[in-house]
């Protein structure tokens, strides 16, 4: 019931928003739908905690603690961003950014595009986490790309087209590898009885027979799935679409891309990681994941250091964090898995907040380039400035914020697991990103003002920002018990205890 509601509501919202005539109606449909989805996600979390995994239609849909956690994070970000989007899109409409497109689209049709595609995008992400069948999961991940391509080229500029093209083609090629991996995972089970039915590709079935799967085929399947879903998660060297897509999409969509969609791609990886470790032992998949993870951190560090555009800086920062999470998954074990789930939760809150701050700055100063904003964000927009600074301190891992805890846990788990080289590199690259982000955003916020006018108070955009900021501060000190239980449960799904 809950699972069906999670899928029906966003689909219905997409349809309604498409046929809505006025801006207010589209906004209302989105806000209402995402509120319902968040409530259902909370209920689902409660049910999973109380009575274990929820299945529907012979296990076609399946939600365990891992799914419930990712769903909760997706639903929360979708809700926060839908409130923010109201203010953001109204400002775009007022400033004429929506009508500047040379394809002759009116502002209203642009709004319709945004408000209909976003629920569709969220629908695809929820389907990723609910589908038990690995084939259906692949179809859903491909659908997230297709639903978000037009969000990336939303403004119709030359650069948006370039970004959308890269996103669609790199994503398409990457995911074709993941499909090959899925086919091979299916094939690896063909010695088992009943493998040629629909349930034969169900993750829960494969996971419970993982020890009997064909080992060579599973090895190849994991490599292909890692390349494919790694492309979607933006692991280096398949990350090149990411800075472009994040800097060209409207800010609320970019926030969803860099948090919820990253989580969904990692979710796909985690599912394959579990199959692979149960079939081949932890070393094979772990080694590959750590290699790609550390490489992503290493590739993103120099780009953060020399970055000229603050939205691209945030994108490289997300690549860094995708690498951190891949490393945590690769280290594995009870500690590594727990660190991964904690980090996924904390990163979602902090990165979402950063994008909202960047959106406020971008709309006020009308540019994304550091050199055009000498500084003085804190004078022109004190609330956004303070929160921006706080969020950047949080995400680069300063205590007392929560990301310090999760990154510390990852290093501890890595050292305990004997990955000393990886730990050293992790810290070195982490320092590079730390310095780059702090210097750039610090001077952006605190640098000398060039007399930009003070911003007005925008309730639609500032309320969600203040809300996320409050959440970020609170989870640094205290995690609500049910959330912690869900995180621990998700980590147990990975370790299979």
């Amino acid at each position: 019931m809950l699972l069906v509601a999670l899928l029906i509501v966003p689909l219905a919202a997409a349809g309604l928003a498409y046929f809505a005539r006025t801006r207010v109606a589209m906004e209302a449909v989105n806000l209402a739908a995402f509120t319902v989805i968040l409530v259902v996600a909370l209920l689902l979390g409660r049910q999973v905690l109380a009575s274990g995994p929820v299945a529907l239609w012979d296990g076609f849909f399946y939600a365990d603690e891992l799914s419930a956690l990712v769903i909760l994070l997706t639903a929360s970000m979708a809700m926060v961003c839908s409130v923010y989007a109201v203010g953001y899109m109204r400002e775009d409409e007022r400033s004429g950014a929506l009508a500047s497109d040379d394809s002759g689209a009116t502002a209203n049709s642009k709004l319709r595009q945004y408000y209909a595609l976003t629920p569709l995008f969220v629908f695809a992400m929820l389907l990723v986490t609910l589908a038990n069948n690995l084939g259906v999961m692949w179809v859903a991940i491909e659908a997230t790309t297709l639903a978000s391509v037009f969000l990336v080229m939303f403004y119709g500029k030359v650069t948006s087209l370039e970004a959308a093209w890269k996103y669609a083609i790199i994503g398409g090629v990457g995911l074709s590898m993941a499909l090959f991996g899925t086919v091979l995972a299916y094939y690896s089970a063909h010695n088992l009885a009943g493998s040629e039915t629909l349930a034969g590709l169900n993750w829960s079935v494969l996971a419970s027979h993982a020890a009997q799967l064909d080992k060579t085929t599973m090895r190849l399947a994991f490599i292909l799935a890692l390349l494919g879903y790694g492309t979607k998660a933006g692991l280096a060297p398949m990350h090149t679409w990411k800075p472009d897509a994040y800097s060209e999409a409207p800010v609320p969509a970019a926030a969803i891309l860099s948090t919820a969609m990253l989580n969904c791609a990692l979710y796909g990886l985690v599912r394959f990681y579990i199959l692979s470790t149960r079939c081949l032992g932890p070393d094979f998949a772990g080694g590959l994941l750590i290699t790609f993870g550390i490489l992503s951190m290493g590739v993103s560090a120099p780009f953060v250091l020399v970055q000229r555009n603050y939205r691209r800086l945030l994108a490289y920062h997300t690549i860094d964090h995708a690498g951190i999470m891949a490393t945590a998954l690769g280290v594995g074990g009870a500690l590594g898995s727990l660190a991964l789930m904690l980090h996924m939760t904390f990163h979602t809150v902090a990165k979402g907040l950063l994008f909202l701050c960047a959106g406020n700055v971008s709309q006020h100063f009308k540019t994304d380039l550091f050199r055009k904003i000498k500084g003085g964000v804190i004078q022109a927009m004190p609330v956004t400035g303070v929160i921006f600074l706080m969020a950047i301190l949080a995400i680069i891992g300063m205590p007392p914020f929560s990301l310090f805890q999760s990154e510390f846990l990852i290093v501890r788990a890595a050292l305990a697991g004997g990955h000393s080289v990886a730990s050293v590199l992790f810290i070195v690259f982490g320092m590079g990103v730390f310095a780059g982000a702090l210097i750039h955003i610090g001077s952006l916020v605190l640098g000398p003002s060039d007399g930009a006018p003070a911003a007005e108070w925008h309730p639609w955009r500032n309320t969600p920002m203040l809300f996320l900021a409050a959440v970020l501060v609170v989870i640094g000190f205290w995690l609500p018990a049910p959330l912690l239980a869900l995180i621990r449960g998700a980590a147990r799904v990975v370790t299979g205890e």
Binding site: W165, A168, L201, T217
Partner: protein, 228 residues
């Protein structure tokens, strides 16, 4: 059904057709005309539908009929028509201008075919019971070769539309792999994949159209604004 027809005969037909599919893939990697390229892709998809149908008849896997019909409708008819219309509408120059010339492309494709055989060997040897999927491993090798040559073609092309074609032929390789390894995926997954392919072609066609309008060219190597 399979008591009447000899599966070995079906196997021979499939292997022969797969060989033709591979030849078409190499032809696609090497030749220079856009419309010909689209037609070769259509023909290749038609042959794949034929392979799926043959396996469905000779090996008693009736659900593959559905996949065969879908391949025929979507990839052999609908997608080529859509792409040819797009070509007409944007009135592009017909030549492809790859980075690497035709003779060298054929050589590289040959090397990739060899690589395909080596990879498929390792998957097959690991597995003593080929009973559920007893198709000669030629088909799997061809499938992997299609996949690799598709990759190569993708890198080798500068124009947006030809990259879409390369992506689609890569997808064809995947389809051949699924039918030769496991007699296709479960039907609902297969339907989902076809739906995704169709939507992807539509999305990419719109993108190609907009790129052509904005850049006055389809040459994606000119898109160099976003860096660093």
């Amino acid at each position: 059904m399979h008591s009447v027809l000899n599966p070995e005969f079906g196997d021979k037909i499939v292997t022969l057709t797969a060989a033709m599919v591979l030849v078409l893939q190499i032809a696609m990697a090497a030749q220079r005309w856009l419309v010909t390229n689209i037609r070769i892709f259509g023909l290749q998809s038609f042959l794949l539908a034929f392979i799926a149908g043959t396996i469905a008849v000779f090996n008693g896997a009736p659900h593959l009929f559905m996949a065969a019909v879908l391949t025929l409708l979507v990839k052999a008819i609908l997608v080529p028509i859509l792409l040819e219309r797009l070509v007409d509408r944007i009135g592009i120059r017909q030549e492809i201008e790859p980075f690497i010339n035709a003779p060298l492309s054929v050589l590289i494709s040959g090397a990739l075919t060899l690589a395909g055989y080596i990879v498929s060997e390792s998957i097959y040897r690991s597995d003593p019971h080929t009973s559920s999927a007893a198709l000669g491993h030629n088909t799997l090798a061809v499938a992997i070769s299609l996949f690799l040559i598709g990759f190569f073609t993708m890198i080798n092309r500068r124009k947006a539309l030809t990259q879409v074609l390369a992506l689609l032929s890569l997808e064809n390789g995947l389809f051949l792999a699924t039918i030769s390894l496991t007699y296709g995926m479960p039907l609902i997954v297969e339907l989902g994949v076809f739906f995704d392919v169709l939507v992807a072609v539509l999305v990419l066609a719109i993108l190609v159209y907009r790129i052509r309008e904005t850049f006055d060219s389809m040459d994606v190597s000119r898109m160099r604004r976003l860096q660093g």
